[in-house]
Symmetry: C2
Subunit: 215 residues, 2 copies
DNA sequence: CTATGTCAGTTGCAAATGCAACTATTTTAA
DNA sequence: TTAAAATAGTTGCATTTGCAACTGACATAG
């Protein structure tokens, strides 16, 4: 468990001492499994695997609200309270999740947790990263056209990967749920972009041919 | 300056001691002014007023990416790195902004800053709130239709205000930039909703008549 | 007082997108 | 190894949305 970023710079002995304080519980999930019964004040930390926050609308739309990788966090605390549809937390790969008591983390502990402040510092770094990810997400969703959503998303992936031939980390069907557009409309747009020579693509493999500096 | 949340539970003397450490600089801006020359590692804290992060697209669209109220934070650190368009930080009201050195905040300080850990704790709380705000933003933008964007937004404002007759904190023109839709299309949709008896509205005053439990 | 600008509101028309209903291909599970 | 699912891809048609170009109301500055 010590390889989670939240415990960076804390010794194993200390971690074990703290586990009681935080009511830390680890659980493994298999791909496709739903994470249920999260308590109000509980914080989930993705130790390994990928977790997706998915909303199923009343009118049948599926939306991937958030995709959380290793060292990412989730919890009712971070949820939008306005969400009326059915929001589920689904493991898209095999996962190990650690749950801790958030209140205990943020408040000063009276026990012998010497490294409590280190923990909060680590937490700050993790939450900051979450903010940046969410900003990226807003950046993509704020684009007015399907093509610009795709281009913004491709640029993002390409920047992370440091190359122009990328492999989309979603099935194309899931990508449309992430971009919040119709799947067939998205595929049609990708076809157009292929025909116009902007990209090359086969299924999840996309090569960016357009000039990234213009977009 | 002590009334900023980042200094909660820290004495005035301590704050003054710390100001040097963090290279804290306060500046006042008037409504409409642009905040320029933010250094890479600098963090802006909105002491008073409202700041908007605005993107001007190559094709003339204006997008309000983020709206930051009192105690909110901004900075290049939190920006989407993929943003190629012209992104500006604009004070939508008179503002007082405090800039501090973020690296210094996150790293352990060797000076006599006793309450440094309190500061980090406060910062965690502020960044967490930013995450929640961004999640709400994603929630609105992820809606597939203009009407659902409006309803999700109205519900959000109504929930915050605790009542069904709300006053939109934007001009309607700015609201369309926030929802990332065309202004005339938005007004047309609001008109339809009025005609269908879902809402009552005159300019920025909106009364929710639909059953919020269905949306 | 007048001009200039911002804001709210409207509408016709064109373009983009969603919906539905398919086929073909690949993966997964029995 | 075969059947069932999931994924990728396509297309016609309906609907939604964006664009452009207005009007009228109101506020602000000179």
């Amino acid at each position: 468990m010590s390889e989670t970023r939240i415990f960076d710079n804390i010794t194993n002995e200390e971690i074990n001492q703290m586990k009681n304080c935080f009511k830390a519980v680890s659980r493994k999930y298999i791909a496709g499994e739903t994470i249920n019964n999260i308590e109000e004040g509980s914080l989930g930390i993705v130790v390994s695997g990928v977790v997706e926050i998915i909303r199923f609308d009343f009118d049948g739309n599926r939306t991937i609200l958030e995709r959380i990788n290793e060292n990412g966090i989730f919890g009712k605390l971070f949820f939008s309270k306005i969400d009326e549809g059915d929001v589920q937390i689904i493991c898209s790969t095999d996962c190990e999740i650690m749950f801790i008591d958030y209140d205990h983390l943020t408040k000063q502990c009276h026990n012998a947790c010497n490294h409590h402040s280190t923990l909060i510092r680590n937490m700050l770094s993790i939450v900051s990263e979450k903010s940046i990810k969410l900003s990226n997400r807003v950046e993509v969703l704020s684009q007015r056209t399907l093509r610009k959503k795709l281009i913004t998303y491709f640029n993002m992936i390409a920047k992370e990967a440091g190359k122009k031939n990328i492999i989309i980390p979603f099935s194309l069907s899931n990508l449309s749920d992430y971009l919040c557009v119709d799947r067939s409309a998205m595929l049609r747009e990708m076809k157009k972009m292929r025909e116009e020579g902007l990209i090359d693509s086969h299924a999840k493999k996309v090569t960016i041919l357009y000039d990234q500096s213009i977009y």
